[in-house]
């Protein structure tokens, strides 16, 4: 059952201290800014953030970090342009980092959303990021065992949603949205427009509503 929420505050009402929160977006594209701002307001602490980036300038992830709400970040590229907020927290030991190659991050999230607990990948074999990981050979090539990532909440950004929670995205703002929606117990989508049931073409739905728990309209 998908609920259409009146505002972002209602949509993030039950994010609890210590929750694992996936946040969609690649740079600014697909970043669920309004939901993140509501999360800052909401006040949950000790969050584990799973996202490709760790904030840039004073974007919404940087604001959440600056508010001291995040204790751990799982991401591929924390050193974005102007990621000073994260860098200072990290230097001071206020936030820990699990650095994951971007494709492995995506595949771990997709596995979490697909009932696959673990898989093997050739990425990062023989590198520092293979430290402590099981290595195994398939077809004459070394691979690493990687585990699924799941989350308590996913905050994502879509273009349109209907009342069943079916989602469309816009251009490259799609990025992590579809797989994070699958991997979270509670998926919350901010969308530019909520439309009536039947308005979306069932052929073009990218994220079926079964993966989406709450939608909230946040016009561009």
């Amino acid at each position: 059952m998908t609920e259409v929420q009146a505002d972002c505050a209602a949509a993030v009402r039950d994010v609890f201290d210590g929750a694992v929160v996936m946040v969609g977006g690649f740079g600014a594209a697909g970043l669920p800014t309004a939901l993140l701002d509501a999360l800052v307001e909401h006040g949950a602490r000790q969050l584990t953030l799973v996202s490709n980036n760790a904030g840039s300038g004073d974007d919404a992830i940087a604001r959440l970090l600056a508010a001291g709400r995040v204790s751990k970040v799982v991401c591929s590229f924390p050193r974005s342009t102007n990621s000073e907020v994260f860098q200072e927290l990290y230097r001071n030991g206020d936030v820990s980092l699990e650095l994951v190659p971007q494709g492995t991050l995506a595949e771990r999230i997709r596995a979490g959303g697909s009932g696959i607990p673990a898989f093997y990948t050739p990425t990062a074999v023989g590198t520092l990021l293979a430290t402590g990981k099981e290595q195994r050979w398939f077809d004459g090539r070394a691979h690493l065992l990687e585990h699924a990532l799941r989350a308590d909440f996913a905050l994502i950004c879509g273009e349109q949603a209907d009342h069943e929670g079916n989602l469309l995205y816009r251009k490259a703002a799609r990025n992590f949205g579809p797989i994070m929606a699958m991997a979270a117990r509670t998926t919350i989508a901010q969308v530019r427009r909520v439309v009536a049931l039947g308005e979306l073409d069932p052929e073009t739905v990218v994220t079926p509503g079964i993966f989406v728990d709450r939608v909230v309209e946040v016009p561009a």
Binding site: F26, Y90, N175
Partner: protein, 222 residues
């Protein structure tokens, strides 16, 4: 080191000549993005879920950015998809060529381009592209700002992937990675074999008859 360093634009042009029309290409952050405008008929992949990514031509759209997070355009026949499919494509070998920058390339083809040991590393999609693409081309200046060769016998920086680099395009030469080390294939305009040798701290073969390539583009001021 007295070699006149080439404008990297020329190097980017030279690299683009080795990418056939119809190839699927991923261009990394930084110098590799300079290759884009010299490609002929290649289809560019951006790891944030785009095929047909193109230089911006028109108004910027915050939802259409390249892997460097800069505003971009989309070629006819392009498509959008999610991150899992984007990297599935990469790992499964659908990207014909990835062009990457590098801190160091070893004569074994080892690539180091994600960390110089700084406190806060970032890896992005570099490791996935390095092991997944069918060919890894590196574009870089041959020397660091301190004048140290980035072509090495063994990388001192942390590896991105082992044994993956096929070709290196520097401001001094075009080089191929072979069993016995680097083989210089062409010299950049104005570079002598001795200059290339002096700027290389790795096993290097320079054939006697090595040609010098001529760039057919007008160079912008360095």
């Amino acid at each position: 080191m007295s070699a006149q360093p080439l404008n990297m634009e020329t190097v980017a042009w030279r690299l683009a000549q080795d990418i056939p029309s119809g190839s699927y290409v991923n261009l990394g952050i930084g110098l590799p993005t300079m290759v884009a405008k010299h490609l002929q008929g290649a289809i560019c992949h951006s790891e944030n879920g785009v095929l047909g990514i193109a230089p911006l031509s028109g108004e910027a759209d915050e939802d259409l950015i390249n892997a460097s997070k800069e505003p971009a355009g989309l070629a006819a026949g392009g498509a959008f998809f999610d991150h899992a499919m984007s990297f599935g494509m990469i790992r499964a070998g659908y990207i014909d060529v990835t062009v990457m920058g590098a801190f160091q390339v070893a004569s074994s083809g080892d690539l180091a381009n994600w960390s110089t040991g700084e406190a806060l590393p970032a890896v992005g999609g570099a490791m996935d592209l390095a092991i997944g693409a069918r060919q890894v081309f590196v574009i870089m200046r041959q020397l660091t700002r301190e004048g140290v060769s980035k072509l090495v016998e063994r990388c001192s920086y942390p590896l991105t992937a082992a044994g993956v680099v096929e070709r290196v395009y520097t401001d001094l030469a075009v080089l191929r990675v072979a069993d016995a080390g680097f083989i210089a294939e062409e010299l950049a305009p104005g570079v002598t074999p001795a200059q290339l040798q002096a700027a290389t701290e790795a096993p290097l073969t320079i054939p006697d008859a090595i040609p010098t390539y001529r760039a057919s583009i007008v160079e912008a001021p360095a």
